[in-house]
């Protein structure tokens, strides 16, 4: 188990800035995901840690020691790649043994270790199969076993599940997490899939344009996005534009509504334009009888779309404060059609504000 620290990493490719003074500290035994859209620099950061890329400036410290002077084959880091990377000419067992052969381990030890690890990833019965005889999910499991065989200081996973189908991904990500917890290995996981990152990580670093926008636990990232980018990138958000009425009372006017923002860090002077964010699940709706007016604190909305998502249905609404999306139980949504008039209630305890 080792700590990993990135200090001021910069990397440009021509005129493209891949990393812009990236700082990150990963604690021993921690599972940290680098989450972001394509081109945000997450893979570049991982490849620099692995030794396949070099930064223009900055430091990579593993257990407090700068490893930038070491070649990739000296860093003792396990890596699982996005592309299938098993050696096609070797069986699953020989693939897992490869790193141990490099370390000149005895045949018995290699065979024992390969069996242990293939059992760990649930593929003991496929030891003698060649990569072409394995499914994509099985290949990635063997690749994981192979990377763990060398007892790496750090495990690096570069979108290892992105080529797999949805069901296998969900299964395999749970297994990756189980194995990581079992071995207690420090792990950096690169993904563009927010659900994947939020479901298996101790902490998530949301990246954009070569920088970390926010680093926090999955719950912090989801419930308390600190930037508009994080709010928009992670999950679905309703964005309300408003003007601060009172700093002391943290009151913002959105159209005809006065909303109190619960965020204690709210620090915008009166008159400043702010954006308020609210998750679809924090908006509830109720049917209005013909001619009824919404109760105080509620406002009227008209259903514009209904998207069935399984247990919930996402309801598109046209309201006096702009278009909104609300997630309601699919059973409740059965009574809704386009143009249904409903009463809308915002859970203002979940409102987050970000300066525009």
């Amino acid at each position: 188990m080792a700590t990993v620290e990135l200090r001021g990493l910069c990397r440009t490719f021509g005129s493209v800035v891949a990393l812009d003074h990236l700082d990150l500290e990963v604690h021993s035994g921690e599972f940290v995901s680098l989450l972001g859209p394509s081109g945000c620099g997450k893979t570049t950061a991982l490849r620099i840690i692995a030794g396949f890329e070099w930064p223009d400036s900055g430091e990579v410290l593993v257990e407090g020691q700068d490893v930038l002077g070491q070649a990739a084959n000296k860093r003792n880091m396990g890596m699982v790649f996005q592309a299938y990377s098993l050696f096609p000419n070797l069986t699953a067992q020989q693939n897992v043994e490869f790193g141990l052969r490099v370390r000149k381990e005895s045949r018995e030890k290699r065979a024992r270790r390969a069996r242990e690890l293939l059992e760990l990833v649930g593929l003991a019965s496929a030891m003698d199969r060649y990569p072409r005889q394995l499914s994509g999910g099985q290949q990635q499991r063997v690749a994981l076993a192979r990377s763990l065989a060398i007892e790496p200081r750090v495990l690096l996973l570069d979108e290892p599940l992105s080529a797999l189908d949805a069901k296998v991904r969900v299964q395999l990500r749970a297994e990756v997490r189980r194995i990581q917890l079992e071995l207690g290995i420090t792990t950096l996981y690169v993904t563009h899939d927010q659900e994947e990152a939020l479901s298996i990580s101790d902490r998530v670093a949301v990246m954009s344009q070569g920088r970390i926008e926010q680093l926090g636990t999955p719950a912090q990232i989801y419930r308390s996005p600190r930037t508009a980018f994080v709010a928009n990138f992670v999950g679905t958000m309703n964005k309300l534009e408003g003007t601060v009425v009172s700093l002391e009372d943290r009151v913002v006017r959105c159209g005809p509504l006065l909303l109190q923002v619960p965020d204690p860090t709210f620090n915008h002077p009166a008159g400043e334009k702010v954006e308020l964010f609210l998750r679809p699940e924090d908006i509830s709706i109720g049917l209005l009888s013909n001619g009824d007016k919404p109760a105080p604190g509620l406002f009227e909305g008209r259903v514009t779309s209904l998207t069935f998502l399984g247990p919930v249905t996402r309801v598109g609404l046209e309201t006096e404060i702009g278009p909104l999306m609300a997630d309601v139980s699919s059973a409740v949504a059965l009574g809704l059609t386009a143009d249904t008039v409903v009463a809308v209630k915002l859970d203002s305890t979940s409102l987050r504000s970000i300066a525009r």
Binding site: A50, A71, A72, R75, A83, F87, P88, G99, V102
Partner: protein
């Protein structure tokens, strides 16, 4: 009931579906026969001619036996084999690491390599030789040895070997395999020998056999430099005894077919066999 019967009759039987699926259009067969005739008629003619002109009481394979009895045949054939193998060895040692590095670290050079590799196609061999001769004559110890032919044939075989290796490397995810091996602690020589070469087996075998075919069949340069290789011997015999010349041609066909069969068998041998052979596992 009548309605059910009508539906069943309207539906084609599985036998009819199978027959329709397996039906080969007539014009496919016609073109196949024409193509086969183009290839087979000359070979048949060669065989027939090589068995003709035999005197009474002589074996129908008289011209073949005469050729095999000739010490010049054996020496020229052996010399060509020797030159071919040297050409293959030099070509592989030069080209495999070069193409590997270009693909891995200098992909920007690939268009340049493509261009260089087609030069021997566009420049006729005689022009190459005329250009090379003054240079080679200065290296007197080499000029008089058959190894000089190997060096020239390396240039002739360059496009074929390069194309084969290039296709082989494009077919694998080279960078990922190299990085995977590196992350497991392997240095480049081990990665090349145990990971990359086994996966280039078909490309290497294919390129090598094409190289052998070129080296075994090249006449112009060998004749100009006055080496009695198999093609030069074949031509010389052919000018004096037509039957023996044709028999020699057929022997060279047999050699090429044997080489193709070897390619097929080696290519079919499965990755495991190649892996054992090349990586010397355990």
């Amino acid at each position: 009931m009548a309605q059910v019967t009508a539906v069943a009759e309207a539906r084609p039987s599985s036998h009819r579906i199978r027959r329709a699926r397996n039906r080969v259009p007539v014009w496919h067969v016609i073109w196949l026969v024409i193509a086969a005739l183009v290839f087979l008629v000359p070979i048949y003619s060669v065989v027939q001619f090589s068995l003709a002109g035999v005197g009474p009481g002589q074996s129908p394979f008289h011209w073949y036996l005469t050729v095999f009895d000739d010490p010049m045949f054996r020496s020229s054939f052996w010399l060509s084999i020797q030159i071919s193998l040297e050409t293959v060895a030099v070509s592989l040692v030069l080209m495999v690491p070069t193409v590997f590095w270009v693909h891995l670290r200098l992909p920007g050079l690939r268009p340049v390599m493509d261009l260089i590799s087609i030069l021997p196609f566009v420049v006729p061999p005689i022009v190459l030789v005329v250009g090379l001769l003054p240079f080679l004559k200065n290296i007197t110890w080499l000029f008089v040895r058959p190894e000089v032919l190997s060096l020239i044939y390396v240039v002739f075989a360059l496009p074929f070997l390069y194309r084969a290796l290039d296709a082989g490397l494009r077919a694998i995810d080279l960078r990922t395999l190299v990085e995977a091996a590196e992350s497991l602690g392997a240095k480049m020589p081990r990665t090349l020998l145990q990971v990359i070469l086994p996966n280039l087996r078909a490309a290497i075998i294919g390129g090598s056999l094409l190289t052998v075919a070129i080296a075994m069949g090249e006449y112009t340069v060998a004749s100009l430099l006055e080496f009695s290789t198999f093609p030069v011997y074949t031509y010389t015999i052919g000018t004096s005894t037509a039957y023996e010349g044709v028999a020699l041609s057929f022997i060279s066909f047999i050699f090429v077919w044997a080489a193709m069969l070897a390619l097929y068998l080696l290519g079919r041998g499965g990755r495991s066999a190649a892996a054992v052979a090349i990586t010397n596992y355990n």
